[in-house]
Amino acid sequence: MYSALSMIARALAQGMALTGGIILLLVVGMTFLSIIGRVLVPLDIGLGPIRGIYDITEIGIAAAIFAFLPWCQLQRGHATVDLFKPAFPNVMNRVIDVIMDAGMLTAAALIAWRLFLGMQDKLRYGETTLIAQLPVWQGYAAALVGAVVFALVAAFCVIRSLRALARSESLGEPQ
């Protein structure tokens, strides 16, 4: 049961991270094309920068970053100060892991929930981006995918640290 969960969490997190990476690469590519287009404007051959490239960049990066969150969570990639870890008793470290993972789950759930409400607002008011006139809610929707997976993976991490506490086995590298 646990190993199945672990595999699903890993597949979800990695899949999201790679999707985010592809979005990032697309942003790089489009920005590059847009710059070339801008350089060619004086030649007047009908080429120019991509309209609203800054809007597209903002939406793309936001979606990518949300998609990166689950992987960071699963890999314990968050910045922490582990100075006192060796000084704390083993059980205390396990308990801290459970508490911090639960804290992360709370934060992730809160972020996803509020983002969903924010998306509804944007949908209701029909807000669009300044130049490209893209509906803002679509950016929120793309972000929401990552945020929901972040919460799911964070939930798995709570199970993972609870299990480690129960088994009191040494916490190895995440699988």
């Binding site: 990695q14 991270a17 790679l18 985010g20 990476g21 990032l24 942003v27 790089v28 590519g29 920005t31 590059f32 847009s34 710059i35 800054y54 960049t57 903002e58 939406i59 990066i61 936001a62 990518a64 970053i65 949300f66 998609a67 990166f68 969150l69 992987w71 960071c72 969570q73 890999q75 990639g77 968050h78 910045a79 922490t80 100060v81 582990d82 100075l83 006192f84 870890k85 470290n93 801290i96 911090m100 804290g103 992360m104 934060a107 809160l110 972020i111 509020r114 983002l115 409400l117 924010g118 607002d121 950016g139 929120y140 972000a143 945020a147």
Partner: protein
Amino acid sequence: MSNIDLALWSFPILLILIFLRAPIALAMLAVGFAGTYMVTGTTMMTLNQMKTLTYGTFSNYSFSIIPLFLLMGQFATLSGMSAALFRAAESFLGHRKGGVAMSAIGACAGFGAICGSSLATAATMGQVALPELKRYGYPGSLSTGALAAGGTLGILIPPSVILVIYAILAEQNIEKLFVAALIPGILAALGYVLAISIWVRVSPNSAAVKPRVPWGERMVALLSVWPVLTIFLLVVGGIYLGVFTPTEAAAVGAAGTGGAALASGQMSWAKLVQAILATASASAMIYLIILGAGFYNNFLALTQLPQTASVWVAEQGFSPWLVLAAVLVMYLVFGCIMDSLSMVLLTVPIIFPIMVVLDFGMSANDFGLWFGILVLIVVEVGLITPPVGMNLFIINSMDKDTPIGQTYKGALPFVLTDMIRVVILASFPAITLWLVWFIDAWVG
């Protein structure tokens, strides 16, 4: 409890949480959330902000430079440029006493010009230079210490992720910060080379030197690093001349190093996936801390602590230089235990408003640049000071024969040159600002 009391109490609470191993982002989120509740008596305000705050932060155009620079650095590690840089530096320095270690520093400086991250620079150059240093009989302490210190050139020499964050927080001009970082960065590399030169003379060791390389071969080796120079000039020059926005420049840089990686034949699907996953983890970590810092700083702003503190400091009539010294020492101390990015995100919003009202006899713009470079250097020192120095750990883990104590010892001379450099740059702001003034006069 007054609002100011609340704000003052929030520091120790935040620190306790962090020392209890709370992820720094989570600690700032939690303290910011709870603090705002205690000031306003309701959670509705924060909850309503959160509908747009997270997306707003993650989609902020200024921040979008960060994942792109991280991706650029990851591609740079696959470009084979680290080996080319090392060969070029060796052809110039290899025949000197301590020359192979000096070449490693030189190559780190070159790599820092296309990589904005310290850890990536240390890890990449470590792979190339450690075996060579071992082959020439360098002691483990010197080779690991030199490479750990060399790694910090990744952020000292622009582009630099830490400078980007500072620029956003302190509302400074990112292109001028990059230019201002250039001379101090080169001084850092020279200081490290000097430290090696003194070390190999003072402490007898078995390190061998390479034969002198003829100038023709040196030029060939130097020409082989043209992609590094091209990408660096395109990115930093392009930003400075206003050809690109900083984000566009980072995208160009990522495309450039990505192209170099493809051309070198080192890029495979597995490597690409690795590069993306590493970028993903680092970006998510940074953005979550930015989000947490946003919550925490909103709370501090509600209590008006930054304004009150800056008025208070100004009224006390402290010597500005004494305050500066105290701030820099604080960064050095905290740098020993905290990572540089979290430290900058946590402190700059509070410290900068205090510092900027003090009179150092220069314009606010110049001060912002100069102070930013000083902060950059002192937080970077934290990467090579025990007990928590990420560069030391990463290099030490690559050299199985050297105990971590030897690496600590090996980093010491380099930390010393960092200290001397901070004092010099703090005493003579013109060293940092000269190039900015010069280019401004020339361009404008």
